[in-house]
């Protein structure tokens, strides 16, 4: 008993040494800022004078702003196209590479290369590729007799351009995760199905896909969150334009906080995003039951 007590108090010293640095960090840089953000959302504050409490005025301002609904629409359009397309393409390629083809390591690296590169650098390169007159994409299209549009300057094409670039950039990353899960599927399962005469597509849809559900679900959730939070792509590639056609939640928030110095409205926008994400997290736990976790 005596010994136990001594070792326990010693333990506490170590617990404090091991945990305190990150715990204090989490409090100062995550928890307190998160709470502050909700509070600042109720204030009028330009950082140069003292904040004043304004109640729900910021939220009323946002919900009265027609641009806000446009921004929500743009964010959802991006997410709804980006997430499923990216995952389906990544799944198809992972399944292709998973066959015993020589050079898997090479292909894997090639597909991963854009994901390794910063989104800023990618956006600058695609800014050049999308150039109406001299960009590679319109030049290639002209070879087959198509006159390409002004990708980034045309409101109908700007969001398409961002989605295409983002899928190209992030697909390899998703593919590596799916490939790892595919390689975890016991070969005996696939072989047994083969012997029973199951077709390739039958094996894919009835054996592989069900076993991949945890991974696909993980990718679905993380990518929805990514989609709702995009910033760099519209900020660098299209400057949120033309005419706000690619203005999304985070660029909208950035404008209020750091261009117009309205910290209250900026925080309120961040809180709206947070609530949207919290709702998705809630549904995530509900749908979690349908995911097949036993292998």
């Amino acid at each position: 008993m005596q010994i136990n007590k001594v070792s326990h108090s010693k333990d506490l010293k170590w617990v404090i040494i091991f945990v305190a640095p990150t715990l204090i960090g989490q409090l100062i840089f995550m928890l307190i800022p998160t709470i502050s953000s909700f509070l600042i959302g109720f204030a009028d504050w330009n950082l140069f004078s003292a904040p004043s409490f304004v109640g729900l005025k910021n939220y009323k301002y946002i919900f009265d702003d027609p641009l806000f609904y446009n921004v929500i629409k743009n964010t959802l359009v991006f997410t709804l196209f980006y997430v499923p397309l990216k995952i389906v393409i990544a799944l198809a390629i992972a399944n292709l590479i998973n066959k015993k083809i020589k050079g898997v390591v090479f292909f894997r690296s090639v597909f991963f290369l854009p994901a390794l590169t910063s989104m800023v650098a990618i956006s600058v390169v695609w800014l050049w590729l999308y150039n109406t007159e001299f960009g590679l994409i319109n030049i290639l299209l002209s070879y087959i007799g198509i006159q390409g549009p002004d990708w980034l300057g045309d409101g109908n094409w700007a969001m398409v351009s961002i989605i295409v670039m983002s899928i190209w950039q992030g697909m390899g990353y998703a593919m590596i995760i799916i490939l790892a899960s595919l390689q975890n599927i016991p070969t005996t399962l696939v072989e047994a199905a083969n012997i029973d005469g199951a077709s390739k597509s039958r094996i894919f849809f009835s054996i592989k896909i069900p076993l991949l559900t945890p991974t696909l679900f993980f990718l679905l959730i993380t990518n929805i969150f990514y989609g709702l939070q995009i910033f760099t792509e519209p900020f660098v590639l299209t400057k949120q334009g033309p005419a706000d056609a690619t203005n999304v939640l985070t660029t909208y928030m950035y404008d209020y906080a750091f261009r117009f110095q309205k910290m209250g409205i900026g925080s309120a926008i961040a809180c709206i995003l947070f609530v949207i994400m919290a709702i998705i997290t809630f549904f995530q736990f509900k749908f979690d039951k349908w995911v097949n976790y036993e292998v």
Binding site: W14, L27, K99, T117, S118, S181, F231, L273
Partner: protein, 275 residues
């Protein structure tokens, strides 16, 4: 048998086409970066530069503080990676193997931090940094990152938990200190997870944009992504030099990847399975 071979051939052709799609933008970037400025705007375009202009590259150094930017990005990434791997593993070990009060509620703070979008903390952190003089300072990019890696703590905790308690008990009886047990016995056994946390920190820090963009003001403090974003301001539409600078910005991480490919692939795969 022949059907199988045909299938394989089809797969290879598809993969080669995809490879072209993935690499063409990079090829075009390098191709443009080596052209004479006027050749960039010729129609039809040249697929190989008629004259290789290395001066596009050297010109970058004359016009923007590129070397300084490389140095900034490099040391910020290095400090962040080493720091966050070290402090995250300390905390993860305590939560996995030590008994203390309020363990559950305290750990939920780390889980919560993974769900908080960065937009939420961006404005209050900015206000905090402007009050303590961290605006235009690299400290604002290094310190918060090191100590708020909820993902790292979560992932490492799962790995520490999988290790047998008997190891610790016998070491305690032998008179080892907790620090020594952690450092010499436990840490080496979670090496794949450490590599994974490090890989994510390297990619995140090297490529980080919004944080540094909001905080850094003086060009000599800029990190590489901030410089790349500012290229059009420096070079207007001199695409040859813009592409030269962009090419150079990609190379450092590419070199790291080539040497540590195994850790990158393993690390990312782990995040999908354990995360």
């Amino acid at each position: 048998m022949s059907i199988k071979k045909e299938n394989n051939l089809l797969a290879v052709i598809t993969l080669i086409l995809l490879t072209i799609v993935m690499l063409l933008p990079f090829y075009w970037m390098i191709n443009t970066s080596l052209k004479v400025e006027l050749e960039v705007f010729t129609i039809p375009p040249t697929w190989v530069p008629s004259k290789i202009m290395w001066s596009n590259y050297s010109g970058v150094f004359d016009r923007i503080p590129f070397v300084q930017g490389l140095f900034n990005s490099f040391y910020i990434t290095a400090l962040c990676t080493v720091g966050t791997v070290f402090f995250s593993s300390l905390t993860a070990y305590a939560f996995a193997k030590m008994q203390f009060r309020f363990k559950g509620p305290l750990f939920s703070i780390y889980l919560l931090s993974m769900m908080i979008p960065f937009q939420i903390t961006l404005i209050p952190q900015f206000i905090l940094f402007s009050n303590i003089g961290w605006i235009d300072s690299h400290l604002a990019l290094i310190i918060p990152f090191i100590f708020t890696n909820g993902f790292g703590v979560f992932m490492l905790k799962q790995f520490f938990q999988a290790l047998p308690d008997a190891l610790i008990e016998s070491a305690l009886i032998d008179g080892c200190s907790q620090w020594k047990i952690f450092k010499s016995i436990m840490l080496p056994q979670v090496q794949p997870a450490l590599a994974s946390v490090a890989v994510f920190a390297i990619i995140a820090r090297w490529n980080d944009f919004l944080g540094p963009y909001v905080i850094l003001i003086s060009p000599e403090k800029f990190t590489i992504p901030i410089l790349i974003n500012a290229l059009q301001g420096f070079f207007s539409s001199n695409w040859a030099q813009i592409m030269a600078a962009t090419t150079m910005s990609i190379i450092p991480l590419l070199i790291v990847y080539i040497f540590a490919q195994k850790y990158f692939i393993e690390g990312i795969s782990l995040s999908g399975i354990k995360g």
